[in-house]
């Protein structure tokens, strides 16, 4: 048996040395180490041997098989690398499509914002989009006939029910349902009766924040907003606070961030001011606290609100708000 093996080896290597192409190599592979090849046959015959010989011969045969495999593989590589071939793997051909989807850019902004505020101990709450006039305006210190209503032309369902024009109604809803301290973020769709152009759509997204406690000041508001701007726009951006007017806060604040394109020097995209308006904020008006049932003598708080589209436009350099709602794949697939 061992002699047979030796001659088998010799014959095999002779054959291997003389073959000319891969087809012949394949034939030899089948002949010697195929499923029904010579080596396989010999391995089957092992059962006929005594139990002492079995392992030794088995080991020998396996060694021969490995030897043959190695020789075939080497030969194959020779064919592939040295000689001209009909088929060669072109590694530069594109892979098979494996398409992942994408998250809408507004959603990316909402998530990024929520994550930043979650890290500062805020929790996330949702509220109705179809809202009572009371929560959208009156409880926010904007009674009927208030001039501030001019800036927020609303879609009404009935005289008392409208599509919320801002996420601020959540401030009151939360305070009505929860004693202080409060620290929340609420994001979602809002609606204003604005004709569509490159900076207006009748639907948009807002992100609202509210913090109320015994000892909250404008300094805290500044700290939180500066942190947010750094995280969302980058550490090199400067945040500026100046007076603003919103009936539900007092003092009122407008927040600007330095223009990223011109680094605050002034360019076309920031209207040559060096600054970009990003949000409205302020200290919660005592009337709002009181209407929600809080003791305005004891508690103070701050609130802020911003447009997600505006943030996305500034962050990604998008110049037309309508793109967000056209849902063009060439647009959507840019945000990964």
């Amino acid at each position: 048996m061992e002699k047979d093996m030796e001659s088998l080896k010799e014959k095999f290597h002779k054959k291997i040395a003389s073959i000319k192409d891969r087809e012949e190599l394949q034939r030899i592979r089948n002949e010697y180490i195929g499923r029904k090849g010579i080596v396989a046959q010999m391995l089957k015959n092992i059962t006929l041997l005594s139990s002492e010989e079995k392992p030794r011969v088995g080991e020998l045969l396996n060694r021969i098989k490995r030897d043959f495999q190695k020789a075939i593989a080497e030969k194959d590589r020779e064919f592939l690398t040295e000689k001209p071939v009909e088929e060669k793997i072109d590694i530069t051909i594109p892979g098979k499509d494996f398409m992942l989807g994408t998250i809408h850019p507004i959603e990316l902004i909402l998530k990024a914002t929520e994550d930043i505020f979650l890290g500062m101990g805020f929790c996330i709450v949702d509220g109705p989009e179809v809202e009572l006039d009371y929560y959208n305006f009156e409880a926010l210190n904007i009674p009927k006939d208030h001039p501030a209503r001019d800036d927020q032309d609303s879609f009404y369902i009935t005289p008392d029910i409208l599509l919320r024009t801002q996420t601020s109604p959540m401030q009151v809803r939360i305070m009505e349902n929860q004693p202080p301290p409060v620290r929340i973020i609420s994001a979602g769709k809002c609606y204003r009766r604005d004709s569509i152009d490159n900076t207006h759509t009748p639907m948009f997204h807002q992100i609202e924040g509210l913090a109320v406690d015994k000892d909250i000041s404008m300094a805290d508001l500044k700290g939180v907003i500066i942190e947010f701007c750094k995280q969302i726009f980058g550490k090199d951006r400067i945040t500026r606070f100046r007076p603003g007017y919103f009936p539900f806060v007092e003092p009122g604040v407008e927040v600007d961030v330095s223009c990223g394109l011109c680094k605050g020097k002034g360019c076309q995209s920031c209207g040559y001011s060096g600054w970009l308006e990003i949000m409205g904020a302020g200290m919660v008006h005592p009337h709002v606290l009181e209407m929600a049932g809080y003791n305005a003598q004891k508690y103070t708080g701050f609130a802020f609100g911003m447009g997600a589209e505006r943030i996305a436009m500034l962050k990604y350099g998008i110049n037309d708000i309508r793109l967000f709602f056209e849902n063009d794949l060439r647009f959507l697939t840019q945000f990964k």
């Binding site: 098979k96 179809v130 000041s217 709602f325 063009d328």
Partner: protein
């Protein structure tokens, strides 16, 4: 509020450049939306004097003017009618430049060469809309000089300030100058005037009766007699240009100028048209007709306040005057009105009639209830100076007893530091001094003070100051927001962060994008036409919608009850933009009418998850992309539910009217309908003009949410191998795979079985009305290796069962 740098300087010293001033004001809450040199893009415009005018051309519409520009004489053809020999006019010479018109070239008209152009105010960029006529300049201006270089007029900058609606006091030159004075510690210069009155008493000519004191708490007036209505002198017209107001005639211009200066709207009536020597301020009669001076007929209601004489209305109070009493060229005597009208009522009237005027814009925000007589005297003074008019003796000034100065407000000094998070001075004493200084500069009156409290009365023009935090904002504004430190909360809170529901929504979104789907966001308002296109009967649940009472466009009149219209719109858009593989999803709310009609109850908002896929074209041979058919979509849904932890799902034939009758499914879990899926009907696809099969699903998250399993429990890996057997059956078309599978699983229930379909076949070899269905069954036991004999026996039982129940034959 438009105003110029030089105009402001008449009222306060300014040592900042226009840019610095704008920057500083924005930090005080007054943002310049626009800053521009008074002559922007104006080049080569010189002062010229018209020396000769000669009509040319057949129509007689053109004149040839000789214009002296000191260095030479130009001949210029002009179409305007308001020019006279001797007039000083702005002339743009050849090669000069005008905003909007660009470079000006000489050209030949009617065989005459015109060496430039005479300019109107609009052409020089001084007016926003075109007006006829050349701008006639002051005869004192130096001939031949470039207009943009003249220090008197050319060297100025125009600001357009955005004024918050709570600061109507800033809708005036004096208001803005007062702010500048406050932050720069300068003195505000308010002009004083000395009036010369005649011996005639005003009360002999007019009496005023206020019927509704609540709507008109103050009414003041003066009479000037013997004046001449004419064009205003250049200096006045020039100021109006700087303020963005179009000059009309001297009387109207004066009232407009004083309004812009003081913030107090004025109105001038032609005295000769006031009947019965009487002014009555009353509510309009029901459906009272009134023609305003813009020539429009208005139908009034009883909430509208009018100024009337003994016979009829002559003005719509605080909004616009009447045509019947307006100032005309022939007017000789005027009654000047300066009033305070109730802001809320004024706002209602102007929005009811759809009329916003400079006057109503100020009244509705609340003007100074103590500024009437000052403005009145200021206007009378200008009329006296500019015309030969004589001011009658006395002022009418009727006011309600309810008209009171602002209430005193108590300010706790420690609250200032508490709200701002900082003291405004180093010590309490210094803080208090600084606060008092700031308030004094803003003309707040300190009535009394002690260690802890100040009692403050705000000035009468600051109707926005009502409570202590309003005063704190004033302190913060002048102190500077930039000087407030930034801190992070002292206390830490333990909050729950995201709710379980929010986490699940995040997870759903992630699953869908890993299925290759792109998230879209579409409008919540849709076109009801979609229901028709989707063949939904009016009685269908999805057609019970919430309607907008004041929609903006036809496309968006109702609130969506399904996300499918938005998906179809997005698919259409992408197909139209040559996209071939479209896989979209939306997670968004739908809106349904409220169930109970109690006051304060709101419509129902339900979160839906919907998706649509379509592949256009042949695809790509190299990519060997799959066919996107119903079962491709179902594969996505199965993966979705599996990843979400939702089990025991039944996919059943559905009846959605917009899906193909057979490729139409519903998804139930525990007998609850969760979702629909299917292929859009061919008619609808044709209607949308999309050359491909659109597959859609829509899932009701509110129903799904409670069914999601959150706990993951580890299942031990099987210890023993499985045995696989294949089976192919010829079976009646009406028997579905789910039925077959259910019956197979019933056989030998102690052995674990998994049934996997691998082929469905119909063809010649198969009996009509039947299909061949082939599947593998995998057998496995927890406690032993199954033997072939055991499995063969089960297979035999399966065969018998399927034969008995479904007449299924082995193939």
């Amino acid at each position: 509020m438009q105003v110029s740098y030089n105009l402001l300087k008449e009222y306060v010293d300014i040592d900042l450049t226009p840019q610095e001033l704008a920057e500083r004001l924005s930090m005080n809450g007054i943002v310049a939306e626009r800053i521009k040199p008074v002559f922007e893009e104006v080049k080569g415009v010189v002062i010229g004097k018209i020396t000769e005018i000669q009509v040319i051309g057949k129509s007689g519409n053109l004149s040839l003017c000789k214009v002296d520009i000191k260095s030479r004489e130009l001949q210029i053809i002009c179409g305007a009618k308001n020019i006279n020999i001797g007039d000083f006019v702005p002339v743009v010479t050849e090669g000069g430049n005008l905003p909007g018109l660009g470079e000006i070239e000489g050209k030949e008209i009617h065989g005459v060469y015109s060496q430039g152009m005479l300019c109107s105010a609009w052409e020089l960029g001084l007016e926003k809309s075109k007006s006829p006529g050349i701008l006639i300049l002051d005869n004192n201006l130096p001939l031949g000089e470039n207009i943009e270089n003249l220090t008197a007029i050319g060297n100025d900058v125009i600001f357009d300030f955005e004024i918050f609606s709570n600061r109507p006091d800033l809708l005036s030159i004096i208001g803005i100058a007062r702010e500048i004075a406050a932050f720069s510690c300068k003195t505000l210069r308010i002009p004083e005037q000395e009036l010369v009155e005649t011996d005639e008493l005003i009360t002999d000519y007019i009496s005023v009766e206020v019927e509704d004191e609540d709507l008109c708490p103050r009414y003041a007036g003066r009479i000037i007699k013997g004046l001449q209505v004419e064009e205003s002198p250049f200096w006045l017209r020039w100021k109006l240009f700087l303020l963005g107001v179009r000059p009309i005639n001297n009387i109207v211009d004066i009232t407009n100028y004083v309004m812009m200066e003081t913030g107090q709207p004025l109105h001038a009536f032609d005295l000769s048209f006031i009947n019965g020597k009487k002014i009555i301020i009353r509510r309009a009669n029901p459906r009272e007709k009134f023609r305003t001076l813009d020539g429009m007929d208005r139908i009034l209601n009883v909430d509208n306040l009018v100024i009337a004489d003994s016979e009829r209305a002559i003005a719509l109070a605080g909004v616009m005057g009447g045509e019947n009493s307006e100032i005309k060229d022939s007017t000789k005597d005027v009654f000047l009105e300066s009033a305070y009208f109730d802001p809320i009522n004024n706002r209602r009237t102007s929005s009811y009639l759809g009329m916003r005027t400079d006057a109503s814009n100020r009244f509705e925000k609340g003007i100074d209830p103590y500024g009437q007589v000052f403005a009145l005297n200021r206007a009378a003074y200008h009329i006296m100076r500019l015309t030969e008019g004589k001011i009658l003796s006395g002022v009418i000034d009727q006011y309600s007893k309810k008209l009171s100065r602002g209430k005193a407000i108590k300010l706790n000094l420690s609250k200032v530091a508490q709200v701002l998070g900082t003291k405004v001075g180093k010590s309490n004493k210094e803080s208090k001094e600084r606060i008092i200084d700031i308030l004094n500069r803003l003309e707040f009156q300190i009535n009394s003070q002690d260690e802890q409290f100040l009692e403050i009365t705000p000035p009468s023009f600051r109707s926005d100051i009502k409570i202590d935090v309003d005063i704190i904002e004033e302190i913060a504004r002048i102190f500077g927001y930039e000087n407030i430190p930034s801190t992070l909360f002292k206390a830490t809170l333990i909050q729950e962060g995201k709710s379980d529901r929010q986490k699940i929504v995040d997870k759903m979104r992630n699953i869908l994008i890993s299925c290759g789907m792109h998230q879209i966001v579409s409008y919540s308002m849709i076109n009801p036409k979609y229901f028709e296109w989707l063949k939904l009967p009016l009685s269908h649940n999805l057609c019970q919608t919430i309607k907008l009472s004041n929609p903006l466009i036809q496309e968006q009149t109702i609130m969506r009850t399904t996300l499918i219209p938005g998906l179809l719109k997005a698919i259409q858009w992408n197909v139209n933009h040559s996209m071939e593989q479209i896989k979209l999803f939306e997670i968004g709310r739908t809106y349904f009418p409220q169930k109970d009609s109690r006051k304060g109850s709101l419509p129902v908002e339900k979160l839906m998850v919907s998706g649509g896929i379509v592949k256009i074209g042949r695809g790509n041979i190299w990519q060997k992309t799959e066919n996107w058919d119903l079962f491709y979509l179902k594969g996505i849904l199965e993966a979705f539910f599996d990843s979400l932890g939702v089990h025991d799902i039944d996919y059943l034939p559905g009846d959605s009217p917009f899906f193909h009758p057979q490729e139409n499914g519903i998804i139930k879990i525990k007998d609850k309908k969760i979702a629909i899926f299917g292929r859009l009907e061919d008619d609808i696809i044709n209607l949308l003009d999309i050359p491909g099969n659109i597959l859609l699903f829509e899932l009701d998250f509110e129903e799904l949410y409670p069914l999601i399993e959150r706990e993951i429990i580890f299942q031990p890996l099987p210890k023993y191998p499985y045995i696989q057997r294949d089976m192919a059956l010829v079976i009646d078309e009406r028997i579905n795979f789910a039925q077959i599978k259910r019956e197979i699983l019933k056989v030998s229930q102690d052995i674990k079985k998994r049934v996997e379909l691998f082929d469905v076949f119909r063809g010649k070899q198969i009996k009509r009305g039947c299909k061949s269905i082939a599947f593998s069954i995998f057998f496995q036991a927890d406690d032993r290796t199954l033997t072939d004999i055991e499995v063969d026996k089960i297979m035999e039982n399966v065969k018998i069962r399927l034969k008995e129940l479904f007449q299924a034959d082995l193939r």
